[in-house]
C-alpha cells in the first residue's frame, strides 16, 4: 500500500542545508499497525508528514496504492488526503468554535460534493469513539481525551485507507492515552491501516510493528512480539484506582 524508496528530505534556510531524512526505505502493507519511534530531531515527524502527503520529499520515490505521488499537483494531493488519509495530531487540532459534530463533518466540506448521509456518518464515527453524548459540545467543553477522540472520529469519517497519528497521546494523561490507544487498536482489529509516531516506548509496544528512526535513517524495523493490549491496561488502572 505504501512504498518508500530512498526518501530524503532536506530543509533549506537561506544557505544553510539541514538534511533531515537520509534515505528511508519503507513498505507498509494494508492492515498494518506501525509505530515510528525515535528521539527528538530524528525526523520521525517529517517522515509522517511526507507519508501523510502534507509535505513533499526532496528525493526518492513514494508510491501510495501504486500512484507515484511526487508527480501529483498540490490539488491532487489535497484530494488524496481527503479521500484516503486521516490525521490525528498531538494537539488535537480541532476547530475551537465548532461543535464536535461540525469538526467531524469538516472533511466532507472539502470532498467535492457533500454526501447526503454526511450527518449520519459523522454521528456513527463519533459513536465509534464513544462520544455520541458529546455531539454538540465544543472542544473547550470537553476533556483532552475527548478532544482526541473527536479528532479520531474526524480522521475516520471519510473511511480512509490509512490513519496517521502524530504523537496522539503526547498531550494526554495515562488513562486518556490508554483510551486513545485502545480505540486505535480496535480500529486496527477491524482491518484499518494505522501509522503512528511516538517517542513513548509503552505506546510503541502497543503497535504491531516498530520502526526506529535515528538521525534520518531507519535503524531497526521489527514486529512487536507481544503487543500490550491497551484495554487490559486500562482495566488494571481502573482497578488500582479503586
Amino acid at each position: 500500500m505504501i512504498k518508500l524508496k530512498g526518501i530524503t528530505k532536506t530543509y533549506y534556510r537561506g544557505k544553510v542545508e539541514t538534511p533531515v531524512l537520509l534515505g528511508i526505505d519503507l513498505h507498509v502493507r494494508e492492515g498494518e499497525f506501525l509505530a515510528i519511534m525515535g528521539p527528538s530531531g530524528s525526523g520521525k515527524s517529517t517522515l509522517l508528514h511526507i507519508l501523510g502527503l502534507l509535505d513533499r520529499p526532496t528525493g526518492g520515490s513514494y508510491r501510495l496504492d501504486g500512484i507515484e505521488v511526487s508527480s501529483l499537483s498540490d490539488d491532487e494531493l489535497a484530494r488524496l488526503r481527503n479521500d484516503k488519509l486521516g490525521f490525528v495530531f498531538q494537539a488535537f487540532h480541532l476547530l475551537p468554535k465548532s461543535t464536535a459534530l461540525d469538526n467531524v463533518l469538516l472533511p466532507f466540506t472539502y470532498a467535492g460534493h457533500f454526501p447526503e448521509d454526511a450527518n449520519a456518518r459523522a454521528r456513527r464515527a463519533l459513536g465509534r469513539v464513544g462520544l455520541e453524548h458529546r455531539l454538540h459540545h465544543r472542544p473547550g467543553e470537553m476533556s483532552g481525551g475527548e478532544c482526541q477522540r473527536v479528532a479520531i472520529a474526524r480522521a475516520l469519517v471519510n473511511d480512509p485507507e490509512v490513519i496517521f497519528a502524530d504523537e496522539p497521546t503526547g498531550n494526554l494523561d495515562q488513562r486518556s492515552s490508554l483510551e486513545i490507544i485502545s480505540i486505535l487498536q480496535g480500529l486496527h482489529a477491524e482491518g484499518r491501516t494505522i501509522v503512528l509516531v511516538t517517542h513513548d516506548t509503552a505506546v510503541g509496544c502497543m503497535c504491531r510493528r516498530l520502526l526506529r528512526v535515528v538521525y534520518g535513517k531507519v535503524v531497526s524495523d521489527e514486529p512487536v512480539a507481544e503487543p500490550t493490549v491497551a484495554l487490559q491496561q486500562l482495566q488494571t488502572l481502573k482497578e488500582a484506582a479503586k
Binding site: L54, D55, R79, F89, H93, L94, P107, F108, N119
Partner: protein, 404 residues
Amino acid sequence: MSLAWRLLKTAVISLWAFRSYAALMMIGLIIGIASLTVIHQIGQGAQQVVSSRMASMGFGADAFYISSGGGRLGVRRGMKRAITLTPQDAASISQVDGVAHVVPHKNVARTQVTAGGNNTNTRVRGATPGWAAARNWPLLQGRFVSLTDIRQSARVAVLGTTVVRELFGDVDPVGRRLRIGRTPFIVVGVLKSKGSSGWRDRDDIILVPLSTATKRLSRDDKLSGMRVTMTDASRVEEVKTEVTNVLRENHSLLPGVPDDFLIITPDELMKLITRQSRSLVAMLTFVSAVSLFVSGVVIMNIMLVAVSERAYEIGVRRAVGARRRDILYQILMESLIVAAAGGVCGLLVGLLLSYLATWLLAIPTAFSPTGFLWALGFSAGVGLLFGVAPAKKAAGLHPVEALR
C-alpha cells in the same frame, strides 16, 4: 445541508470567533458607507426640491425666461450683470410668431419698508397682471396689480405673507398704508404663502405695478427679466432663436459681440441643476471613496493578522483535504461577508443620519436607490479587493508550517 450552505456557515462561524476583529474591520466601512449614503440622500433631496420649486414657479415646458445681462447659465456673470432689457424689448418679443405672453418684471434693490411703527427690509418687484398666473401664485385676499394700475403707475402694493407678518402682524393689511423707501403705497392684496424653498423665503416680497417700479422706485425703465410663454411647447427652440435675433437687433449688437441677455429654457435649467448636483455628488463620492479605500487597507491588515493567528486552523483544513483555492475562497468569502455586513450597517446608519438631518436641521433628503446600490457595490468591492492579499497569504501557507 448543501456544500454552499456549509461554506457560508464555516465563514460565519470563523467570523463570529473573530468578532472583535470583524467589528474593527467594519467600523471604517460603516463610516464610509454611511457618509456615502447621506451624500446621496441629500443630493437626491436637493434635486427633488429644485424640481418641485421649478414646477411651483410655473416653469413649464412651454415657457422660457429672459434675464438681463449676458454670460452663460451657471457661471457667475459678475460685471456682465448689467440691466439691459427694456419695455421696448418686451413689446418686440410679444410680436414674435409663436409667443403667447410676455410677462416682464423689474427687481428694485432691497428696500426699507415701513407701516405704522413697524419696518422691514424686503425685495420689491415691479410686475404686470400676468405675473401671478405665470407663476401659479394665487392671491390670499384682495386683488393683484391691474392694467389700470400699470397705466396710472399707481402706488399700490401686493404683499407676501412674511411682509404682512412683519409689518401688520394679525391685522388685515388690505387698504392700509405703507411706505417703500419714502414713497407711500396702499396695500391692495396679499399673496398666498409659498413657503421657503430651502435657501430663500419666497414670501418675503412686495409686488408693485411694473410702471410704478420703473418710474417711481428707480431711476431707469430697464427690465430685470421676462417670462415668455409659447403658444406651443414644441416651438420653444424656434421661438428662442427668433427672440435672440430680435433682441440683438434692438440692442444693436454687431456680429461677434456676445449677447447682453440670457435666455433660460426649463430644459437647460434642469440640465444645469442636475449637472451641478452631479458634480457635487461626484466630489463627495470621491471623498467617501478615499475613506472606503482607507477602511479597505484596515480590513486587509486586520485580516492579515487574523490569518497569522488562524494558521493552525488553516493547517487543519489543508490536512483534511482543503485545496489552496478552498482556503482562498474561504478567506475571500469572509472578507466579503464582513464588508457586506459593514455596508448594510453603514447604509442603515446613513439612512438614520439623513432622517435626523431632515428632522433636526431641515435639510431635504430623499431615498436614492442609486446611492443604495453604490453603497452595497462599493463595500462588496472593498471586501473582495482587500481580501485578496490575506486570502493569498492564507492559501500560500504550507500545511506543515501552519500546523506547527
